[in-house]
């Protein structure tokens, strides 16, 4: 039917999600209202905003240079005075660096790694899923079997294996964490693409001579953004946890870069002497951030698919 009644390409794309600007505004308002009424989601969002604020303005908020060492003032307890009229509110570490300042700087790196890794994994996974679902056949087989093989590894082991050869570094850890996530996205996108490629508006786009690229990225992709957002928010939480674990093992970012994971790694040698503040505060920062992403993920899933809420 669509073949006999050509639909202009631009309008077919617009009709895809039915996303006119007034529709989008209405959806945004609905999302905002739902978030305000769901107390947990609001708390999650507030934590997330706070962490983002710290990640952006951390350097201005930090009372000390995070790398400034002062061996005379090493391992001070929280609340103890530093030199001058400053205070180590969260204590100092084994090199006399201020824990609070490193925590504030660490927010930037931890969030950056989380979001960048999701971007890398999300992009690779989405393209792979679109190609796999749309073309099917041997391409589909190869891509999905590759994913199966990757899933056969506990992820942290896979990351260890690559990072031990590549060496620690910001780009390396983003790439490894990102590549570790692609299959999650590929599977979701593939499943959605399989059902969407039979829809009339996709057929219409094909009939009007849209290129495959345009069909994949302008007709199909906008319709699978919603589930991808849910996966991404859960995934950021997982990636932040993995980054912390890898940094703890000494495979994350180089030691001089303050991240929450590397701070925890440094705390290990001082556990027996009960320098608890070196471990407690960076850990709390990770827990709060991951919790916020998990809560937002839960809320988004319920918001986008209310049927799931019944049992959730």
């Amino acid at each position: 039917m669509a073949k006999t009644k050509p639909v202009p390409s631009a309008s077919s794309t617009q009709a895809v999600g039915g996303m006119t600007s007034s529709y989008r505004r209405k959806e945004l308002r609905r999302a905002f209202q739902s978030m305000v009424t769901s107390r947990w989601a609001l708390i999650g969002m507030l934590i997330l905003l706070l962490v983002t604020f710290i990640a952006i303005f951390g350097p201005w908020l930090a009372p000390f240079d995070p790398d400034r060492q002062n061996l005379l003032m090493r391992l001070r307890k929280p609340g103890m005075p530093a030199q001058g009229d400053l205070t180590y509110w969260l204590g100092s570490d084994q090199l006399g660096r201020d824990v609070l300042s490193r925590l504030l700087y660490g927010a930037r790196v931890s969030l950056l790694v989380g979001v960048a890794a999701i971007f890398v994994g999300g992009t690779i996974g989405t393209v792979a899923g679109l190609v796999s679902g749309y073309f099917g056949g041997w391409i589909d087989d190869v891509i999905m079997r590759l994913g199966d093989i990757q899933l056969a590894f506990p992820f942290i082991l896979l990351a260890i294996m690559f990072l031990v050869v590549l060496g620690p570094g910001l780009v390396n850890i983003i790439l490894v964490l990102g590549i570790g996530q692609w299959i999650t996205y590929a599977r979701i996108v593939r499943a959605q693409t399989l059902s969407l490629r039979e829809k009339e508006y996709v057929e219409a786009a094909r009939a009007t001579g849209d290129s495959t690229f345009s069909i994949l990225f302008r007709t199909i992709l906008p319709n699978i953004i919603a589930p991808l957002t849910v996966i991404a928010s859960f995934n950021v939480a997982g990636v932040i946890l993995s980054e912390a674990a890898l940094s703890f093992l000494g495979l994350g970012v180089p030691p001089h870069v303050p991240t929450w994971g590397s701070m925890l790694s440094e705390s290990r040698d001082h556990l027996l002497s009960n320098k608890w503040w070196m471990a407690v505060f960076p850990g709390l920062a990770i827990v709060l951030t991951v919790l916020a992403f998990n809560i937002i993920g839960d809320w988004l899933r319920d918001f986008l698919d209310p049927r799931l809420k019944e049992n959730g």
Partner: protein, 328 residues
């Protein structure tokens, strides 16, 4: 059933070959892998000799074929720091890791099932909210940080549990010394409480939520309503009708969980100086002892694949629909 079994076995073999491919690629990704196997002070002649001895001068596909052959024979070369076959080093540390992972799994599953059921049966009440809030928190705590906190509070501050080392149970058991194994058992468990709680927290939290939602779904099914309307006691409805169906998703998760827990154990062992594969890998990372890292990772992946195979077969027995369709 046989077709399903053979198909599933073949799949596992293909995946295992894929694992070897990935580990081979990981060796090559940083450039000439020879440098990973020689000391930093090696001369050019020594490096060249090592390249020939290790076979890295051959074409890539030949290297890969011989790599697969070696992997399936458990030959990863000699450990650079222990000066003995890497696989032997790893196998020595294996029983401690298996003990810890298994105990974590038992703890996590053993607690998550009653908690999930309780929450589902008291849906919307304060206890349900409480359990689910703690579960959400449990899913947000890095396992090694949980370990550090338990180390500091229950180990160091209260002194209730040992904070490092282990007392072997499996090792004497494998050696046939049953008496020693069972004399050790209480002490083994005592040493494992803190690390296994730390490793299992995430799994416990996730499964409590999974059991709850699975149970809620089953409780809404017609056959549960029918059973209730027939006047069967609530206890029997839950145990015989609801629970039998609700635990299928949990069984599927157990295989995956074991792999996930193995990953967690690797990190948590370093907190408690627990002498398993995790601590071995950590030391190997610091000494860039690549053969030990490779042997550990591939062995753990192999165990993970084997367990998933077993779980799929168990699942096929539990759920007759799988047998009929032959689908995995």
């Amino acid at each position: 059933m046989w077709t399903f079994l053979i198909r599933r076995l073949l799949q596992s073999i293909i995946v295992m070959i894929g694992v070897t491919l990935i580990s081979f690629v990981s060796l090559q990704i940083g450039g000439d892998p020879t440098y990973l196997f020689v000391s930093e002070n090696a001369t050019t002649e020594e490096i060249e000799a090592a390249r020939i001895a290790l076979g890295f001068d051959r074409p890539l596909h030949i290297q890969y074929l011989s790599y697969i052959g070696n992997v399936f024979q458990g030959d990863f070369g000699n450990s650079l720091s222990y000066r003995m076959p890497a696989m032997e080093v790893v196998l020595e540390a294996m029983p401690a890791t298996i003990e810890l992972t298994f105990f974590s799994l038992v703890l996590a599953i053993g607690l998550s099932i009653p908690l999930g059921i309780y929450a589902a049966l008291h849906r919307g009440k304060p206890m349900d909210g409480g359990i689910m809030t703690v579960a959400m928190l449990g899913q947000s705590i890095p396992n090694f940080w949980m370990g550090i906190m338990m180390f500091l509070y229950f180990g160091l501050y209260l002194g209730w549990f040992p904070i490092s080392g282990n007392v072997p149970f499996l090792e004497p058991l494998f050696e046939g010394d049953f008496r020693k194994a069972f004399t050790n058992l209480p002490s083994t468990l005592h040493h494992m409480v803190l690390p296994s709680f730390a490793v299992g927290t995430y799994t416990l939290a996730r499964n409590a939520r999974l059991v709850r939602s699975s149970m809620l779904e089953v409780l809404q099914q017609d056959y549960v309503r029918t059973a209730r309307s027939k006047g069967i006691s609530e206890r029997r409805v839950i145990v015989n009708h609801a629970l039998r169906n609700a635990w299928l998703p949990v069984v599927t998760m157990i295989g995956l969980e074991f792999g996930f827990l193995l990953g967690g154990v690797v990190v948590v062992e370093t907190v408690f100086s627990y002498p398993g594969i995790g601590r071995l890998v950590y030391n190997a990372i610091n000494q860039r002892d690549i053969p030990v890292v490779q042997a550990s990772v591939i062995l753990l992946a192999g165990i993970f694949i084997l367990l998933n195979l077993i779980v799929d077969l168990v699942y096929a027995r539990l759920d007759p629909r799988v047998k009929l369709t032959g689908a995995s």
